[in-house]
C-alpha cells in the first residue's frame, strides 16, 4: 500500500515567520452553516434517490433495477465553490448489472444531480449485502459441514483479494467470519456477490 514519496522538500522558515501575502482571499469558511453537516432526513434521502433515478444518464440502471444504494450522506463543499451553502446529498450506489459504482451528488435545494461519476471502485457493502453474504454462506454445505455447535456468523468483512488469480481481486466480494459468541473465529467463507456463490472456505487459523 505504500508508495514512494515523490514530493520535493525545501527548507522552511519557522511557523511564526511563515508569512506570505495572500493572492486570493476567498470567502470565510468560518461562516459555514453547521446545519449543512446534519444527517439527511428520510425525506431528503428519498428526494435524492428519486432525483437520481430520474436522471436520464442512469435510465438503464433504474430500469433494470439491479443496484444497491450503499450510502446517502450529507456533503458540504467550501466557499468559493458555487455549491457552497447548498444542502447536498452524496449518493453512492453499486450497479450489479453494469458492475460499476455510481457516485453522485444531488443538490437538494434544486432537486438536481450536480455530479455523476461511474467508476470501477468498490464502495463498502450495504447492510443488505452483508446480510445476503451471510445467507449465501450459511446455505453452502461446504460451510455448514464445518461448523460446530454454537458457531454462527460473527461478522461480514468487506474484502478484496490480493492477486489477480483471486476471484475477489476484481469482483464484489465479502468474507463472512464464523465462530463462537466468545469471539473465537473458526472459519472464513468468501462470497462472490455477483454470482451469489461461496468461492473459498478457509479455516480461520489459516487465513
Amino acid at each position: 500500500m505504500k508508495k514512494k514519496a515523490k514530493a520535493k522538500a525545501k527548507p522552511a522558515p519557522a511557523a511564526k515567520t511563515a508569512k506570505k501575502p495572500s493572492a486570493k482571499r476567498e470567502p470565510n469558511v468560518a461562516k459555514a452553516d453547521p446545519a449543512l453537516f446534519d444527517p439527511l432526513t428520510p425525506g431528503e434521502v428519498a428526494d435524492a434517490l428519486r432525483t437520481l433515478a430520474e436522471d436520464k444518464r442512469l435510465a438503464t440502471m433504474a430500469k433494470v433495477g439491479r443496484y444497491r444504494v450503499i450510502a446517502a450522506e450529507p456533503l458540504v463543499v467550501k466557499p468559493p465553490h458555487e455549491l457552497a451553502g447548498h444542502r447536498l446529498a452524496r449518493i453512492v450506489a453499486y450497479d450489479y448489472a453494469a458492475d460499476h459504482t455510481v457516485d453522485a451528488c444531488v443538490d437538494l435545494d434544486e432537486s438536481v444531480v450536480v455530479h455523476l461519476e461511474l467508476n470501477k471502485s468498490q464502495p463498502m457493502l450495504s447492510r443488505d449485502e452483508e446480510a445476503m453474504a451471510i445467507d449465501i454462506a450459511l446455505s453452502d454445505p461446504r460451510v455448514s459441514e464445518k461448523l460446530h455447535m454454537g458457531e454462527a456468523p460473527q461478522a461480514t468483512m468487506h474484502y478484496w483479494g490480493r492477486t489477480p488469480g483471486d476471484l475477489s481481486y476484481a469482483r464484489r466480494s465479502a468474507a463472512v467470519v464464523f465462530g463462537r459468541t466468545d469471539g473465537h473465529a473458526s472459519i472464513v467463507a468468501v462470497v462472490d456477490l455477483l454470482d451469489l456463490a461461496v468461492t473459498q472456505v478457509v479455516p480461520a487459523e489459516q487465513w
Binding site: M1, K2, K3, K4, A5, A7, K8, A9, K10, P11, A12, A15, K16, A18, K19, S22, K24, E26, N28, V29, A30, A32, P34, F37, D38, A71, E73, L75, V76, V77, K78, P79, L83, R90, K120, S121, Q122, P123, M124, E130, Q154, A155, M157, H158, Y159, W160, R162, S168, Y169, A175, V177, G179, G183, H184, A185, V202, A204, E205, Q206, W207
Partner: protein, 267 residues
C-alpha cells in the same frame, strides 16, 4: 444530546457517520477556525502467516479486509465526558472478533487527540491494523496553507502531494509534521505515537474528494488515500492530511493508535 460542544476553549460539532466513525466538524479553538472536518474513514486489517522456514512462508495470501465503523457497528451511545483540562468524545464499535473505541480528546492548552483503541483477537494472532485518520484543517481559512515535515534537523517545506513516513526524526517536542497557515503563522503540529509506524499523506483539497466509503479504489490500483496522490502543488493551497498507523497485533493489546496534535500560534 446536543451535537455542539463548547468547552475548554473549544467549540466543535460532531455526528456519527455510516462508515467513518465519529466525525468532528467546524472545530474552533479560542474562537478561531481550526478544522473543517476530521474522521476515521477506515481501519483495514491484513494477515500474515508465521513460519520458521523462509522457503515455506506463503507470505500474505489473502487481501485486506475492513468493516465500517458507524451506525451499523456502534455499541451503545456516543459518550461525551469532561475530564480535568478538557472534554472527550468516545464510541465503541464491534464486528465479530474486532473491537475499536474511537476517541476525540480536546485539551484547553490547544492539544487534541484523535485516537482509536484496538481490542479483540482477530481471526488469528498474525495480523496488522491500519487505522486511517483524515483531517481537513482550515486554520484561519481554507487556503494559504503549507505542509512541512521535520527532517535533517529542521522543518522542511513540502511542495507537492506525497507520502511522508515517520523517519524517526522529530523536533524537540516530538513533532514530525505540521500544517502552517501563511496568513496568521499559526500551525497544527502532529506528533505520532512512537509505536504507530506512522505515515502522513498530504493531498491538495478538492470538493467532494471525501472518503469514498471504502479504501478500495479499484482492481490493480492503489487504495485510498494513495490513489488521491498526484503531482499537485501544496504550497499556498488547501491541504488535506491522512494519518495512517500500522500496528501489528501482539499479546499486549489493547493498543491506542493515533497522533497528538496541537494548535499553536493562534493569538
Amino acid at each position: 444530546m446536543s451535537n455542539v460542544i463548547e468547552e475548554a476553549g473549544w467549540k466543535f460539532h460532531w455526528r456519527l457517520t455510516e462508515s467513518a466513525g465519529i466525525m468532528v466538524y467546524l472545530a474552533d479553538y479560542k474562537g478561531r477556525r481550526v478544522l473543517w472536518e476530521g474522521s476515521l474513514p477506515y481501519v483495514t486489517v491484513d494477515h500474515q502467516r508465521e513460519t520458521l522456514d523462509v522457503k515455506d512462508d506463503p507470505g500474505e495470501r489473502h487481501g485486506p479486509w475492513w468493516v465500517p465503523l458507524g451506525t451499523r457497528t456502534i455499541q451503545g451511545p456516543v459518550r461525551v465526558q469532561s475530564f480535568r483540562g478538557g472534554v472527550e468524545l468516545s464510541a465503541t464499535f464491534v464486528a465479530g472478533p474486532y473491537q475499536y473505541t474511537q476517541l476525540w480528546r480536546f485539551h484547553e492548552d490547544g492539544r487534541f487527540a484523535p485516537w482509536v483503541t484496538i481490542y479483540g483477537p482477530g481471526v488469528h494472532d498474525q495480523h496488522t491494523y491500519h487505522p486511517h485518520f483524515r483531517f481537513d484543517f482550515d486554520l484561519d481559512g481554507a487556503r494559504d496553507d503549507a505542509f512541512e515535515r521535520f527532517e535533517e534537523g529542521r522543518w522542511q517545506r513540502v511542495e507537492e502531494e506525497g507520502w511522508f513516513p515517520y523517519s524517526g526524526e522529530a523536533d524537540d517536542k516530538g513533532n514530525v509534521w505540521r500544517q502552517v497557515d501563511f496568513g496568521s503563522g499559526a500551525a497544527i503540529n502532529i506528533r505520532p505515537h512512537a509505536w504507530d509506524d506512522a505515515e502522513v499523506f498530504a493531498i491538495r483539497y478538492h470538493d467532494g474528494e471525501w472518503a469514498p466509503f471504502s479504501p478500495r479504489a479499484g482492481a490493480g490500483t492503489q487504495p485510498f488515500p494513495a490513489a488521491y496522490v498526484g503531482n499537485e502543488s501544496l504550497d499556498g493551497e488547501d491541504v488535506t492530511l491522512w494519518y495512517v498507523a500500522h500496528v501489528h497485533y501482539d499479546q499486549s493489546f489493547p493498543y491506542t493508535a493515533g497522533p497528538w496534535m496541537r494548535v499553536e500560534g493562534l493569538a
